[in-house]
Symmetry: C2
Subunit: 124 residues, 2 copies
DNA sequence: TATAACTGTAATTTAAATTATTACAGTACA
DNA sequence: TGTACTGTAATAATTTAAATTACAGTTATA
């Protein structure tokens, strides 16, 4: 997103972005799909295609990006937590932990609401 | 820690705790080592040994536990991030992300400072 | 004082999750 | 009509996390 904000006038392709991140272009395209569904970027197929921001970076909060990237999960995951249901604590722990994790996610989101992509971009 | 708070009068052993968590006792003992270094618990070796809280659960904040469990890392990790140093963004991104991640960690810790182990324990 | 039941920790194996790769249909430009 | 892209699925390779095994050291107690 920093790259897209810096080069707003250009269609940036997944190979270029992947080269900056030093990861595989397919991973980049997968992530861009999420950002596109969230209406932060648009894409153009075909030769000289790529992606670019739809919105002014001043109106994009880091929390917007975070929310799209994170999906429905909480940051601290319970996916591998399968406590013993015959234990007084185990049988209830996940619902109680989930409440805390939602609180944590909220605090992260509130922190990231204070930062715009424009501000972040200007550090480069 | 919930178990230890509920059964403060007993030495709780790693097999029992592991059975509640439904994980391997060795993992439990490794994690208990961190909590012990942080002076939240004490351990007793030998037969009928185990671990127990040192402090009153009213004086243990969830942030205390979180800090010990998390170690020196930030919650959102950069460990696999090796961006392209010949890219204007890539060469600087990790230091800028790290600043944000420290801010995020701070906000999580502040959230967890508002909750005591005693309060959490009382949900069970 | 021997045995059983623990902690503490290292080394290794196994399983799970992540990332990379390959492949290809579809689209747009020149 | 060829080239360079997106979009997406399937699979392979790699990395990380967890489980397992092992064992030295400690303590209670029969």
């Amino acid at each position: 997103m920093t790259l897209l904000a810096l080069y707003r006038d250009q269609w940036m392709n997944s190979v270029l972005i992947a080269s900056s991140l030093n990861i595989n272009p397919v991973l980049v395209r997968r992530e861009l799909t999420l950002l596109k569904k969230g209406n932060l970027i648009e894409s153009k197929e075909g030769k000289n295609g790529g992606v670019r921001l739809i919105k002014d970076p001043n109106t994009i909060l880091l929390s917007d990006i975070f929310n799209l990237a994170k999906g429905e999960e909480t940051v601290l995951s319970l996916s591998k937590n399968t406590p013993n249901p015959s234990c007084r604590v185990g049988k209830q722990i996940n619902e109680n932990l989930m409440l805390i994790m939602k609180t944590i996610d909220d605090s992260i989101i509130n922190t990231l609401k204070l930062k715009t992509l424009e501000e972040f971009k200007n550090k480069f």
